[in-house]
């Protein structure tokens, strides 16, 4: 037993996180910044932070991940990081030539109190920022919020720095996709495209972190939202923010700054949430839903009807980020599966009440904790076993110890591929999720079936 120190008895822990279901703000900010075209994320802190984030993202996406660091030393930690950042800005624009440097802070630079806008102004006054290039920033102290907060904050910074209103509305809408995979962002754009909607999506990590093999190493890949496109977001007809935590702050900021009305929806995972997304697009632009989308919805429904007996009553334990978990729980409940244990490392009272609302008709009491950790999840599972686990790669310890199948989703996935290329959002994404769930459940049934009841046709 790998996690043999996990006890069934649950005792109160007041000062300790074991096997976290979250990580810190800066990595979320770095991920979001990679979704701007020609942007080099910059970590204002010790070298280690930047190396860790790059390694973690590289393991998850199996792609080169570029980011620079202020390389704090003991001196910088005492006298402030101004000199480091000004020099960094100069070096970066001289050698790497990005369009944008997106600075995020760390616990170190936050605590010593570095004022990034002031330092940027100094760099500008010193002529270190070439004409037409940008330095944007966001405060992401690691001791506040989680990676989701960092993503939300960097996305909001894109609005704060770039969104403008020229006064003339443009026939387009903004979509903030939430803290989802490049594949999901692609799928959301595809759905909008099928409906004939012009979209500015930000951030957009597709074609950045799911690149083809080209035989070339491009420091700044083809993908990402351009600064020009970001500037026009202030004149869009509306904004749809997917995922309250990850997209809410940017969507609201755009409303406040440029009067672009916003609708904040759940991530479009599963029928109902995708229905709401498609319907919002329809209503916002006064268009009809094309047959091709109805057809995809029908196919998703077809899988559920064909296989519903295998979903029925299966107990699921989940760990992940709030926006994902809300939509996923709703999806699971809608196909008659029962999420019984749910943890996220990101706090939020609203999250717990929302999950309770979604699961209120379940025959089991749903354990839900925000912030909780995977140690607690494991303890719950020891008390009330589940048939299926869904979460990131770290769940594989629990899966092995308790002999429960695992469907990987969320961040990080360190041991499988697919998440960068195949979405879980939209009706097609729903089909993929169901395929993965069924594979896991039915493989297990095949493995465990006694010879006499081993079935060929299922």
């Amino acid at each position: 037993m790998l996690l043999r120190h996990t006890t069934k008895e649950i005792t109160e822990r007041s000062a300790l996180t074991i096997n976290p279901a979250k990580t810190c703000q800066p990595i979320g900010a770095m991920y979001a910044a990679l979704g701007i075209h020609g942007c080099l994320p910059h970590s204002h802190g010790s070298q280690g932070c930047c190396a860790y984030h790059r390694s973690a993202l590289t393991r998850h996406y199996k792609e080169p991940v570029m980011a620079a660091t202020s390389s704090f030393t003991e001196g910088a930690s005492v006298f402030g990081g101004q000199a480091n950042l000004v020099q960094a800005i100069d070096n970066i624009f001289t050698v790497y030539e990005p369009e944008v440097i997106a600075v995020h802070t760390t616990c170190l630079s936050e605590t010593i109190g570095d004022d990034i806008p002031q330092i940027t102004r100094k760099a500008e006054a010193d002529g270190k920022i070439p004409q037409g290039k940008y330095v944007i920033h966001v405060n992401t102290p690691s001791y506040v919020g989680t990676h989701v907060t960092g993503f939300a904050n960097m996305t909001k910074a894109m609005v704060d720095y770039f969104a403008e209103s020229a006064g003339q509305k443009i026939d387009q809408i903004n979509i903030i996709p939430g803290y989802v995979e490049p594949s999901d962002m692609e799928e959301i754009k595809r759905i909008a495209q099928m409906m004939g909607v012009r979209v500015v999506m930000f951030p957009d990590t597709s074609k950045v972190l799911n690149r083809p093999q080209t035989g070339k190493y491009d420091m700044f890949p083809e993908g990402g939202v351009t600064v020009e496109a970001l500037k026009t977001t202030g004149d869009s007809l509306a904004t749809i923010g997917l995922g309250r935590l990850a997209s809410g702050p940017a969507a609201q900021a755009l409303d406040t700054k440029c009067n672009v009305p916003c609708e904040i929806l759940d991530l479009p995972i599963g029928f109902k949430a995708t229905d709401r997304f498609v319907d919002t697009l329809r209503k916002t632009l006064g268009i009809t839903v094309p047959d091709i989308i109805n057809n995809e919805r029908g196919q998703l429904l077809d899988i559920v009807t064909d296989m519903h007996q295998y979903f029925y009553g299966k107990k699921v334990a989940l760990a992940g980020d709030p926006d994902h978990l809300i939509a996923l729980t709703e999806f699971l409940v809608s196909i008659d599966m029962w999420p019984i244990h749910i943890v996220t490392g990101t706090s939020g009272k609203k999250f717990e009440s929302r999950i309770r609302e979604i699961t209120k008709d379940s025959p089991y009491t749903t354990n839900v904790k925000a912030p909780g950790d995977m140690f607690l999840l494991h303890q719950w599972i020891k008390n009330e076993p589940a048939d299926l686990l869904m979460g990131n790669t770290y769940m594989k310890y629990i899966a092995r110890d308790e002999d429960i199948p695992l469907v990987r989703m969320g961040f990080p996935i360190l041991d499988r591929i697919g998440h960068s290329y195949f979405p879980i959002v939209g009706y097609r994404g729903g089909m993929r999720l169901l395929e993965k769930i069924l594979d896991a459940i039915l493989d297990r049934q095949d493995r465990d079936a006694p010879e006499e009841s081993f079935e060929l046709v299922m």
């Binding site: 300790l16 990580t23 802190g45 199996k62 660091t69 910088a76």
Partner: protein, 468 residues
């Protein structure tokens, strides 16, 4: 290519044969560079983490614990406590009011819960800034709970990884000398600086057993607290990996008079040389030890060489690039590639010293690029310039190689095959062969340009067949 090198970094890159050797290193990374280096905390964490029955508590915001959660694949033959991630998960209020109370509660709750043999408590950047008295809390808990509770002074900004190694060594040294040493053979060693990736330490232990040498503590791989406590009873310390544990060996030499040998278990010559050096050390106590060692090496080589030849035939003349954490590993790699008939076109490290680079300069061929603290842009331009067939590096280097259509071997903590020992050389040859000769590169655009016309035609046919 020159434009991809920062002007300030010019003297951290050397091309052998172009000018007299001179290199700057051990220099802080340039702000703004996409450095491949990590921090002090990282250095401490990687060295101590394979002590598998100790509690490892990270005092800091959650990220520091998450990014070091069981990512190294240091295997254990018993306890698995090191696979957990424990953090005080500092919040804003802790930063304002101090985190000592939280640390105290976390430590005492954890020790009650899992009853570990010892606890290591890691300091992070923020702890250094807010000034928590980590040592004070550790002393208090040690007193209350009766187990060693050791502070690791690993604030991230206090240098690079090497400073972290030093902090780890100082932490480990606190345990040394606290256990019984009565049943230790005069022919005995400690293994330092091996992390038991893919079970490598078990290979080395087996060789030592065959030589009749007792291993007291494999300190940093499949490690145990009790072994570490009695490590001062060993007659000799074997130190691998240039940076990580040399400080511990020096401290043990000074306090307990235990000499140390710098060894490498990687590659044929270095592995054999290391064993001979160990035998040489013990030959006065046991005159037979050299005979046994020679027999061991003979047996292993007679097994290895014929099989290695096969790989050499295919790999002769291929070109390699090396960029690793410590330079000591680079020495062994240069020699290992020579064994496979391959040339090394680029070699570099994150944390090499001037001496290290001098040695690299001596053992490499003219034209080889030697580089300190490099970055992706530089590395990718060198890889293309030298048109290498394989790149040896770590997690951040792998996708760069693959994007360029170059083979890759992880000689860092993500290795999945044991690369140490004689059997490790064979595994290494297999891995190099598998990636260098993989048909996959024939489909990548860059390589296709280098193929001769007829080969290109073949590939075109294959691609067409696939597309159809």
């Amino acid at each position: 290519m020159a434009e991809t090198i920062f002007a300030e970094r010019k003297d951290q890159v050397h091309r052998k044969g172009e000018e007299p050797f001179q290199m700057t290193c051990d220099k802080e990374s340039l702000a703004g560079a996409v450095s491949q280096r990590a921090c002090v905390f990282c250095g401490s964490r990687v060295v101590l983490y394979p002590i598998t029955d100790a509690l490892h508590l990270v005092h800091g915001p959650i990220g520091c614990a998450v990014y070091t959660w069981d990512i190294r694949g240091a295997l254990s033959s018993g306890p698995e406590l090191h696979r957990h991630s424990y953090s005080t998960d500092l919040q804003e209020s802790d930063v304002i009011f101090g985190g000592e109370d939280k640390l105290y509660r976390a430590l005492t709750q954890l020790i009650d819960r899992i009853n570990p043999k010892a606890a290591f408590v890691y300091s992070t950047c923020i702890v250094g800034i807010i000034g928590d008295d980590l040592a004070g809390v550790c002393r208090k808990v040690e007193h209350e709970k009766g187990i060693p509770v050791i502070p690791v002074e690993s604030e991230g900004f206090k240098g690079n990884k090497r400073a972290g190694y030093n902090a780890a060594c100082r932490a480990m040294f606190q345990l040394v000398g606290t256990g019984p040493i009565d049943d230790i053979s005069p022919l005995s060693v400690n293994i330092l600086g091996d992390f038991n990736l893919a079970g490598e330490i078990w290979i080395v232990r087996e060789y030592l057993e065959r030589m009749g040498v007792q291993v007291v503590a494999n300190i940093t791989g499949d490690g145990r607290v009790d072994d570490l406590r009695r490590a001062h009873g060993a007659a000799l310390n074997l130190v691998q990996c240039s940076g990580s544990t040399i400080d511990l060996a020096k401290m043990m030499e000074e306090k307990y008079g235990i000499p140390f040998l710098r060894v490498s278990y990687f590659g044929v010559e270095d592995m054999a040389d290391s064993l001979y050096k160990i035998a040489e050390f013990f030959k006065d106590i046991d005159p037979q030890v050299m005979e046994r060692t020679k027999a061991l090496v003979r047996d292993e080589l007679s097994e290895l060489y014929p099989r290695l030849k096969e790989y050499r035939k295919a790999l002769e003349g291929k070109k390699a690039a090396i960029y690793v954490g410590g330079a000591f590993k680079a020495f062994s790699l240069v020699k290992a590639f020579r064994h496979l008939g391959m040339t090394v076109a680029l070699v570099g490290s994150q944390t090499g010293t001037e001496e290290d680079y001098k040695e690299l300069h001596e053992i490499t061929d003219p034209g080889t690029i030697i580089v300190d603290d490099s970055n992706p842009l530089e590395l990718s331009s060198f890889l293309q310039e030298k048109d290498v067939d394989i790149f040896v590096g770590g997690v951040k280097e792998r996708p760069i190689a693959y994007k360029l259509g170059v083979g890759f071997c992880d000689h860092n903590h993500e290795r999945k095959e044991a690369l140490e020992g004689f059997v490790g050389m064979l595994n290494f040859a297999k891995e190099v062969y598998a990636t260098v000769m993989s048909p996959v590169w024939r489909f990548t655009p860059r390589k296709r340009a280098y193929l001769s016309k007829s080969q290109e035609m073949d590939v075109c046919h294959e691609i067409k067949a696939i597309q159809n």
